[in-house]
Symmetry: C3
Subunit: 440 residues, 3 copies
Amino acid sequence: MKLTKTLPVVVALIALPTLALAQEADVTPPNEEIGYIFTTFMFLVTGFLVMWMGAGFSMLEAGLVRSKNVAMQSLKNVSLFAIAAIMYYLIGYNLMYPGDGWTITNVLGAFSPAVMEPVGGSPDTDLTYASVGSDFFFQLMFCATTASIVSGTLAERIKLWPFLIFTVVLTGLIYPIQASWKWGGGFLDANYGFLDFAGSTVVHSVGGWAALAGALILGPRIGKYKDGKTVPMPGSNLTLATLGTFILWLGWFGFNGGSQLYMDTAGNVADISRIFANTNTAAAGGAIAALILTQLLYKKPDITMVLNGALAGLVSITAEPLTPGLGAATLIGAVGGVLVVLAVPFLDKLKIDDVVGAIPVHLVCGIWGTIAVVLTNSDATLGGQLISIAIVGIFTFVVSAVVWLILKATMGIRVPEEDEINGLDMAELGMEAYPEFTKG
Amino acid sequence: MKLTKTLPVVVALIALPTLALAQEADVTPPNEEIGYIFTTFMFLVTGFLVMWMGAGFSMLEAGLVRSKNVAMQSLKNVSLFAIAAIMYYLIGYNLMYPGDGWTITNVLGAFSPAVMEPVGGSPDTDLTYASVGSDFFFQLMFCATTASIVSGTLAERIKLWPFLIFTVVLTGLIYPIQASWKWGGGFLDANYGFLDFAGSTVVHSVGGWAALAGALILGPRIGKYKDGKTVPMPGSNLTLATLGTFILWLGWFGFNGGSQLYMDTAGNVADISRIFANTNTAAAGGAIAALILTQLLYKKPDITMVLNGALAGLVSITAEPLTPGLGAATLIGAVGGVLVVLAVPFLDKLKIDDVVGAIPVHLVCGIWGTIAVVLTNSDATLGGQLISIAIVGIFTFVVSAVVWLILKATMGIRVPEEDEINGLDMAELGMEAYPEFTKG
Amino acid sequence: MKLTKTLPVVVALIALPTLALAQEADVTPPNEEIGYIFTTFMFLVTGFLVMWMGAGFSMLEAGLVRSKNVAMQSLKNVSLFAIAAIMYYLIGYNLMYPGDGWTITNVLGAFSPAVMEPVGGSPDTDLTYASVGSDFFFQLMFCATTASIVSGTLAERIKLWPFLIFTVVLTGLIYPIQASWKWGGGFLDANYGFLDFAGSTVVHSVGGWAALAGALILGPRIGKYKDGKTVPMPGSNLTLATLGTFILWLGWFGFNGGSQLYMDTAGNVADISRIFANTNTAAAGGAIAALILTQLLYKKPDITMVLNGALAGLVSITAEPLTPGLGAATLIGAVGGVLVVLAVPFLDKLKIDDVVGAIPVHLVCGIWGTIAVVLTNSDATLGGQLISIAIVGIFTFVVSAVVWLILKATMGIRVPEEDEINGLDMAELGMEAYPEFTKG
């Protein structure tokens, strides 16, 4: 690893100035086919990292629920990932990219399964971007991530099948429709100048809104709020929660890095590098902020807050991981960490029971991250960001609420009281996650 | 992640037609050295993904055995991986690729350790493929995977050292010899037109046959079959099993994707993308099929079946992950999921005790996946596939059985009854995996 | 995966000869920009693998401490990773590469935060290496790894905040200063011909020395050494320890492979491939050596020794993963595995309490690996290696000891006896890692 670096040591930007953006170098790739291979392979690598986030959510949630619900929570996470894969193939992908111009005709025509390019490539393939298969693979993982967010909030009391049906609607319709408004060339992109690089709003707040609607309609767990007090229900396995956080941290490099969408030039790969470094430092900022703040507030650090603080930092930098310098990225993440520590008890005050803290992490910090774009990217306007946050939020919350209410009215969404007390594992699955270990 | 996709929305193929294959574009790479770098790096990335599957098997198996055998199961998984690394280096690699033409002379001459190209590259290196080191690294991981399959079936009752000696034979001789028949240019490839893209037969069914031979000779666990009934022996840690499944799912992108063997042209990288997408959707199909089927059969979903269903989907698509469309791949995986749900109780009826369900997943679905090649790839013939499955199966089963019988006759392969009841951890290792936790 | 390999089967080198090194092919990359993209992307991929090692250390340590300290150990691992990220950004990176020529003026001038290249790339960027962001990202992970090593040794008795303050000094000052002597073009590199490819000394022994200084000053855990005997304190979760080992094994491909620093030519990517293969086989050698040796010494294999044996093999090959052949690499790793098995009881004889065995693995094998460079790389001299090991060791040990002593004198570094007995989780965090599981 010997390398004498001769780069000039320059003065750094730690604060949060609006960076003077260098003009995007007007470079054409050295060779179209090579650029195509680079970008396609980049999507595969960043795509498998985002896929890995599915495991991260599963471990995080399994660690933060009580042991009597762990097997069910694991089953939900595997199943929702599989459902997302199938629904995004059947409808979502084409619905999200409704072709040349975002019109009603195009959208209606877009209800069709995804199709990849033929085997062996076609001689007349357009080589300016990436292979369809790689783009589909990458985009699918974002859809799956959105669904993963919901499962944690509603844990320990929701019935399996209504949850899975909601996931069908979320991944097949809700996510792709609103995502198309920004990433499919729709009106948020075209008319409001909405900037959301990798999805603080389009992915994370959407998952958060859907979870919030569910939490309100489902109600809190039995015994969670008693005599005006919040009863702590500690997670059963903090090493799993730690593992889940590390997995998500790792996967996020793919989430944000791949969203550069091109790796065909030196400028693009340098941008992806900035994004990796910023993503990492934002997570660090969030974790440290939560560590210090919980020490100050409660005289003891809180590990679940530190884990959620890291995730909060990651969500916060997701809307704009490219333009901030390392210092700005750290601070954006740190604000996220602070927000989570404040939002968790605030939600409890409202008696909104979010088992794993997904709403503070993904919704609150998703909003913060989307607003923070204006701090470092002069192309964004506060108005455009706020109105886009609102439109996406209202759409997702209302549609989700309608779906939850229909499910509640038809098949019911909550397990019987007795099943909730005994745990979903025995009641709904008939097996336990840790059958040989006595509960304390 | 803004991108207005302007690809025409075309009609999809959901059913299972034999796709009219596009002619492989007759492209030479834009530059030989660049193609060499691309392919070599691709092998390193996909190779480390397959290496990661070793961790996946370890977690899956540790989660599915009872807590008294968990440390031993972990030790076996680490050790077998290390043994595979050394045996494949010492003999396996050269034996699998016995040089120019598969003749007895070549095969006998192939008993020699693997050697990588010199440091710094050689000026006269052939740049049409990839570096020897990367090819060795990638192929080694397939050999290790084969060994991982066996350990799960025989868990909880086999002695450590005979198991490891079997692993020496499997990774040094059995795997590479039969693999050379297909991938080393041997007679299955040359004379039978056998198609097995990434090893439904060559890797997965081989692991399954070796496991089956072992299971028959070793016999079931004490108390597993009593009064004509199968006694459930639930796994001790379903979150570990879930984690293992996610790891395997992730690693499989490397397993199938890297088996394209070239990433030097747009056509090849587009093919690898198709393979990633198909691999993912096949796993999803298998998981969903098992979820629905267990709900219908048993009125409750079975999480271990869903996990094995995902793996079944992955094994099923492995013989041909390239030619199917997304719909066909989903259905091929779904059939795998159904087969697993049916095969597990069927094996129990035969009193073949497979602790983790490796035989249903890897052998049954390995066969199914190999047959399914004919559904989407017109180069495959049902006859060629069936005869190749049979030849590989008979060879592996017979040789494995002979080795198991020799081990049984000489050193014994089964732990004493008392040790089995007390658990292998205390008996063979003198330490427990979870020493501080009371058994229920 | 069909491929008829026609490479000539050549005679292998199993022993440990000094390989006649092929002259580094004097190749210029086919195109500067393409080489830049290759190397930059390589840093991102290998960098995220090294980041993943942070999770590996966390799992390994959480598995090897007793359950009453698991949450705290997890918190320490997440926090130290975050601290490393911030300190390396604020000071470490520029301090490690103090510009053109390693002079006091340059070093003093180097106290400044890291800065990445502008967004979109600059038209006048130097394209002969890689993007600054990717280099920063990759190098940061080495700094974080160094800090991860310390936390394991000092587990179960050190206070959280002093440990974190030490981490600040280690990652901001100690690590980058000594690393600059070799990798920043300092005197060990320039005057002593010191060779340490990926950091057996610069990373691993440094972590080990810092841990040793801490262990001596902190003292052993209560009850660890009683009446002249070592009391075993078995880890609470061996599957987590196994998982951690697999994660570290995987991450090490990035650690060693990325240290090639260039992937712009066929020769460089072929070298990276050799490194991957050698790294893997060294780990295998270490694991097998520990397996056999513990069986011979204790009549039972010891799984924690086998896990540490694999890690020992990895540390041992880190100083020179390129020049050995596969056989030599296996043996270098195997010697590491033997050293660990012998060093663990030796440390106990000295009453140095190293909870996870980090000193045997990272310090002892770090020294061995650095010496072993002379066996296969004729550019290294035994004298140059030994003096460099000594200089780095003395510097790190002395400075670390001073910091530990200051911390001890000011805020105290050890938890009260009662807290240690009850466990750090309840005492310092007020929460347990596994609250629902009764301790046996």
